[in-house]
Symmetry: C2
Subunit: 172 residues, 2 copies
């Protein structure tokens, strides 16, 4: 599984020419904790160290689906391993941010079928702080880096509110 | 996926001769709500209706791993689709029992890797009422029907206690 992911990440890298990036190298969002955590998570699955010399904007680029990029993806399709890995990275990064904010372990659980459906869940103690039905995984992506961060921030703030309200269950 | 499971369930049926059952046809546990729910769940994945004429003890027989049966399974191995289907049936049946007892939706989420590890989780509202790490899935089974029911009853009673204590979170 780890080896497979590594191989497919290589294919992914090959498929994105470095001169066609949609995230600017000086995008201020790249300095946010969220973007840094995303890069950390991406490096964690990069078994061969291919990302070692890559800039942050290049590593996060495949998460951005501009209108043009989206148009190139068929409406119906099976997700490949690359996109499934990115879905996991996104929710793992959010779980990690939750953990940092509340000092309690946040555990992500992502269940994807080969048909592109699934469920993503993050738990803290016995409290479910995020629970999402996933569909059309093969078209997973965000219009821009800023919008990806906004989405993550929203999930984070809902999670922190739930943990505050139900701290007893979160501490179980 | 459904088709694959159906095919492999056929293989499963073929592999268990009806004259080699370890559950007696008149085992009183077969009359319990739990056993009835297990049979209902097994029939739900039986796309070709092969079980239609099967007795309850024959349908549940593959869940029982006597010492002799266990000895025939290698210590290390990958789970096949049949045993993965049985793991799901077991936890689905428990979720269904929880649902009946508390009148709230109980959602099972079973995440199994091909290496035989995984996590089984049942949620009610935003409350996790069961959370288990699974390992050695290829050796999933119970010493006897009574012991399988005892195990399910234990999970059920812990879940009901949690729901009673944290009814607000369970109702979210």
């Amino acid at each position: 599984m780890a080896a497979n992911t590594a191989i497919s990440m290589d294919r992914l890298k090959a498929s994105i020419p470095s001169n066609n990036l949609v995230i600017a190298a000086d995008d201020p969002v790249l300095e946010s904790d969220f973007a840094k955590e995303m890069i950390r998570q991406m490096r964690a699955i990069d078994s061969y160290g291919t990302y070692d010399k890559w800039s942050a904007n290049r590593i996060l680029d495949p998460f951005i689906l501009t209108k043009e990029r989206k148009q190139e993806i068929p409406i119906v399709g099976d997700p490949d391993e690359e996109v499934m890995a990115r879905v996991k990275v996104f929710y793992n990064a959010i779980a990690s941010m939750i953990e940092k904010e509340c000092n309690l372990m946040a555990v992500p659980l992502i269940n994807l079928t080969h048909e592109g459906f699934g469920r993503a869940l993050i738990s803290v103690g016995k409290l479910i702080v995020m629970d999402r039905t996933l569909r059309d995984i093969h078209r997973f992506g965000f219009p821009s880096l800023a919008k990806m961060k906004t989405e993550a921030d929203k999930i984070l703030s809902v999670a922190m509110e739930l943990i505050g309200k139900h701290s007893e269950v979160a501490g179980l």
